[in-house]
Amino acid sequence: MAEPARRLEPAGTAAEPLVRVENLVKHFGAGLLTSVKAVDGVSFEIREGETLGLVGESGCGKSTLGRLITQLIPATSGTVSFGDVELTKLRGEKLRQQRRQLQMIFQDPYGSLDPRMTVGDIIAEPLDNYGIVRGRARATRIQELLRVVGLNPYFNNRYPHEFSGGQRQRIGIARALALNPRLIVCDEAISALDVSIQAQVINLLEDLQREFELTYLFIAHDLSVVRHISDRVMVMYLGKIVEIADSAEIYESPKHPYTKALLSAIPVPDPKIQRNRRLVELSGEIPSPINPPSGCRFHTRCPIARVPGICADTEPPLEMKAPDHVAACHFSDEVALVTAPAE
């Protein structure tokens, strides 16, 4: 793929931010006076060339956040900047031109491809939309993209149903790569695949990142996969970011009790370890995002919350707890003392 090489910072270092999100809010109307606070005031950066993992349980707002960043849905308030351009200010053709650089890969390899289009047309659709290549060049580009994602380049005339789930996900990846984007948002991109196929697609995403200097926002509920692929990990709970840190650091010393509970719940495929692990128990259920708890949103389930007290009254800010490690907890020093998974 011929495209002028972009500068690539080594992953994990303090590279220039590619995406800057400030105070981003998305409320969905749920009635006359109520709204679902899906994303409720988040600020963070995605650094050029990195993979930022985004985890959290169903309903925490992670998918909504992915869609806000790619401008698939409009924000209620707040800004998303891409490089020097504030995307949330743009409309119409100007936004359309910027969007080329932000692509998305979806979870469902069956639902995200039009069954009546050939694979070649699916992959070339973004190119056609922007009127980039025609005729011979278009055909060459399709074959090039198929080859890049590890599919036979002569499969361009086949239809999606002729492919397996893993191969369809490769088609989705080829489509996302067609416009030489700089950022790809992977929304549960491998969750629907079988384990042996998951590994193929994870390896492919890593190869493509190296080859095309891509930046990923990798959204998934599977923390093991996120830890594997990400340079940094961001944890969300009920529309808020609770913690962001380097992926090894967040696993070794989480500074938010929710992160710790989440980590303790991941089953490890090793009977000796798994048998002796102790779960950090969370009380109750996830509260409704229509009416989130006061103060710290996690206080109703937190094992170390002061209730009544500061946790129920004051929302903790997302602040620096260690180098390059932010968390939103009044008592982050105590997180290490919360029952740890025993070795």
């Binding site: 349980e57 169903s58 074959q143 080859r147 890049v148 994602v149 590890g150 599919l151 036979n152 380049p153 002569y154 397996s164 893993g166 490769r170 079988d194 384990v195 042996s196 196929i197 998951q198 590994a199 193929q200 697609v201 994870i202 390896n203 492919l204 890593e206 190869d207 190296r210 509920h221 923390l223 093991s224 996969v225 830890r227 594997h228 692929i229 990400s230 992926s247 090894a248 696993y251 509970a261 989440l262 980590l263 303790s264 719940a265 991941i266 089953p267 490890v268 495929p269 090793d270 009977p271 000796k272 370890i273 798994q274 048998r275 692990r277 779960l279 128990e281 969370l282 109750g284 259920e285």
Partner: protein
């Protein structure tokens, strides 16, 4: 060891489709002992769920159990009449499914549905059923059980619905509980709670559990013995520690190395299994895994391997086995994984 509570022998379940006969379960045999937790693992289409449904005699059309035996407490379930099977299901053998949403009736109160499960089997007098329902919901740790019995399924969260399903399954204290991916649709924190619950139940009321899952982490925590299935067959079985520490079938070995682990350091490249699972209408000759196997020898192309002892209580169906692969074939943890190769990029590029 004691006599097995469940003995499956040479089970064949086939689907008669327009395209041909799908051999979904192809000669599966295993034993389950009282109080044991047995994991059946494998990927989509390997036959693990169909094995479970065959035991329950709930194979959907156009599927049919063609031959085999399913002995439960010594009696062959495949010879029972539909009425006798209805009696056994829910009373002696209970099954819980992945999706509690579709397994509960949306227009009936949750408590009523649990009660009904007891009343059909006349296990509890009607007056006692309501009381026992609340006790069961408490046992599966549904908070405010007295109030929750009146809730309709949509008023419960996903985790609570799955707990209600488990309460229903346990209402007649079955001797055997078959759980088919019971936590796959749930969030990890809820999954962990459900698994702890199953573990406690196994300990407290001595129910034998068959856990069907694709998640090797789930098996590692809950099960004492594991069966690995591939393309309708058992390829390896043994005690959980042996299977995880010393797998002998290359499929088990590769599967364990293809999953990222939360406790592993970053950027060990994952070992992916090349290719796709076979078409079960026309499965490959010889060993069904040979087209994807990194350690295949000539014999694997033609001869079908059978399960043989490869260690204490451990059996594998492989002509080579990992012992030989390590000793003679230079198998290493990440052998033949050069950048690009495992993602399929380079091999495809070579073809093109």
């Amino acid at each position: 060891m004691a006599t097995p509570i469940l003995s499956v022998r040479d089970l064949h379940t086939q689907f008669f489709t327009d395209d041909g006969v799908v051999q979904a379960v192809d000669g599966v045999s295993f034993d389950l002992f009282p109080g044991e937790t047995l994991g059946i693992v494998g990927e989509s289409g390997c036959g693990k769920s169909m094995t479970a449904l065959s035991i329950m005699r709930l194979v959907p059309e156009p599927g049919r159990i063609t031959t085999g035996e399913v002995r439960f407490r010594g009696e062959d379930l495949l010879k029972k009449s539909p009425e006798e099977m209805r009696e056994i299901r829910g009373r002696d053998i209970a099954m819980i499914f992945q999706d509690p949403q579709s397994s509960l009736n949306p227009v009936l109160q949750t408590g009523y549905q649990v009660e009904e499960a007891m009343l059909v089997h006349d296990k509890v007098p009607k007056e006692k059923a309501a009381e026992r329902t609340i006790a069961l919901l408490k046992q599966v740790r549904i908070p405010a059980a007295e109030r929750r019995v009146k809730d309709f399924p949509h008023q419960l969260s996903g985790g609570m619905r799955q707990r209600a399903m488990i309460a229903m399954g346990l209402s007649n204290t079955p001797a055997l509980l078959i759980a088919d991916e019971p936590t796959t649709a749930l969030d990890v924190t809820v999954q962990a709670q459900i698994l702890e619950l199953l573990e406690d139940l196994n300990r407290e009321i001595d129910t034998s559990i068959v856990m069907i899952t694709h998640n090797l982490g789930v098996v590692a925590g809950l099960c004492t013995r594991v069966i690995v299935m591939y393309a309708g067959r058992i390829v390896e079985e043994g005690p959980v520690e042996r299977i995880f520490d010393n797998p002998q079938h290359p499929y088990t070995w590769a599967l364990l190395r293809s999953i990222p682990r939360i406790d592993a350091s970053r950027h060990e490249r994952l070992r992916s299994i090349e290719g796709l699972p076979p078409d079960l209408i026309r499965p490959p000759r010889g060993c069904r895994f040979h087209p994807r196997c990194p350690f295949r020898v000539e014999r694997c192309f033609t001869d079908d391997p059978v399960l043989e002892d490869v260690g204490p209580e451990q059996r594998a169906a492989c002509w080579v086995t990992m012992k030989r692969a390590y000793e003679e074939m230079g198998a290493r943890e990440l052998v033949d994984v050069s950048p690009g190769s495992a993602s399929g990029v380079h091999s495809a590029a070579k073809d093109g």
